[in-house]
Amino acid sequence: MKRLNVLQPKVLLKVIAILVPLIVNVGQLSSLSYAETQAVPVEVVGEHAAPAAHGADAHGEEKAGDVIMHHIFDSHVFAFEPFGEIDLPQLPPVAGIDISITKHVVMMWLVAAILLVVFSIVGSKYKNMGARQAPKGLANAMEALVEFIRLDVAKSNIGHGYERHLPYLLTVFFFILLCNLLGLIPYGATATGNINVTLALAIFTFFITQIAALKAHGVKGFLAHLTAGTHWSLWIIMIPIEVIGLFTKPFALAIRLFANMTAGHIVILSLIFISFILKSYVVAVAVSVPFSIFIYLLELFVAFLQAFIFTMLSALFIGLATAHEGHDEHEAEAAHH
């Protein structure tokens, strides 16, 4: 019995090893025959394509790349592929800045509209509701998220005085979450997959963090914090490091969100385009569709995760900037002695 158990996976592996090339070859053969019947005078694509076919191959790949990039990039056109497209208005530049409405701006406005509608409903429910009533339906669902951000993100990271930063954290969480999710529906675009959007949000976090730090420590404390409480002879090293540190945190926030959202979309589209590049239905059914569904589900999770991480880290930075008053003073004192 034991021997059999050991053998079984090996047998299975052998079967797979025999079957997989067969399937792939059949797929290639079918596409080959298809190509031949169409009388296309080009060698068929694939890994074994001859250098002579490189032009066509490169052309196909470039096309795929173009399509992928087209999906990810911002543009002045909102495309609804088989039905046509909407040209978005191009505004004249103001003070040298092109402020025309792009696809991502429209997506953000959509997000804003959804947020305003949903939360005006929820907010009015709460206004009409007594403290003794329990929330129902939509209000209850939103309350779970709001309560999560309030307690597990804001309160646990910022601590005392977290109420002041709560509106920002809640807004940023729901804004990013909805941007991420709207990027996953067909014809949608991920505004948070654009570095400019994430950078703008990170800049908000940066300013809020610095203002909170200034309010908590005062100008003197803020400047003292830049020295990290070290001896004055180290200031020439410490001050630039601390100043760079101020900027790296929000920069990392911006890059993290942008990269995560972009990468997921590129992976999904690349998986789909594998079947187009190989021109095989078998690859489409066996690889592209299941894997892209898997990545899509992963993306749903990542949408929540990245919204949470952005909010969490914003709260953490604010908490770091405002807390440790006594600790820093103590350190500064110790440095003087």
Binding site: A58, E61, E62, A64, G65, D66, I68, M69, I72, F73, D74, I97, D98, I99, S100, I101, T102, H104, V105, M108, W109, A112, L115, L116, F119, S120, V122, G123, S124, Y126, K127, M129, A131, R132, M142, E143, V146, E147, R150, E163, L166, P167, Y168, L170, T171, V172, F174, F175, A191, N194, I195, N196, V197, L199, A200, L201, I203, F204, T262
Partner: protein, 175 residues
Amino acid sequence: MLTSGIILLEANLLSPNPGLIFWTAVTFVIVLLILKKIAWGPIITALEEREKGIQTSIDRAHQAKDEAESILRKNKEMLAKADAEADKIIREGKEYAEKLRADITGKAQEESKKMIASAVNAIEQEKQRALDVLRNEVADLAVMGAEKIIKTALNADLQKKIVNSMLEDLSTKRN
């Protein structure tokens, strides 16, 4: 793969676009301000109120429990006290009753003793008197018998008869 990498670089994925930054900032600030007014304010105040409400309810429940416990304790104490009181009363009553009974029986015994003593006394006196009377009677009878004997002949038999008859008389008389 290489071409897509080149596309990535060429298509300036990381290129700044101030217009988009501007629109993001504007959109976000407007959303933030409106949501702060219409949603976060009411929701958070409601949540805080509920939190406080729950806390006060819990506090009140604890207080009520403490109060109930103290009342229960007091009740138990009172009950115990009442029990003790009742016990004491019963004991006292019993003691009193016992004492009273003892007193009464003692008195009664004394009384009865006294009565018996007086009865014995009376009996003794009566007996004495009866004996006195009997003695007198016997003396009279003896005198009367002697008289009769003397009156009749001094016959021994006769005398004996007389004495006997006299004694019989005496006995019948006595009876």
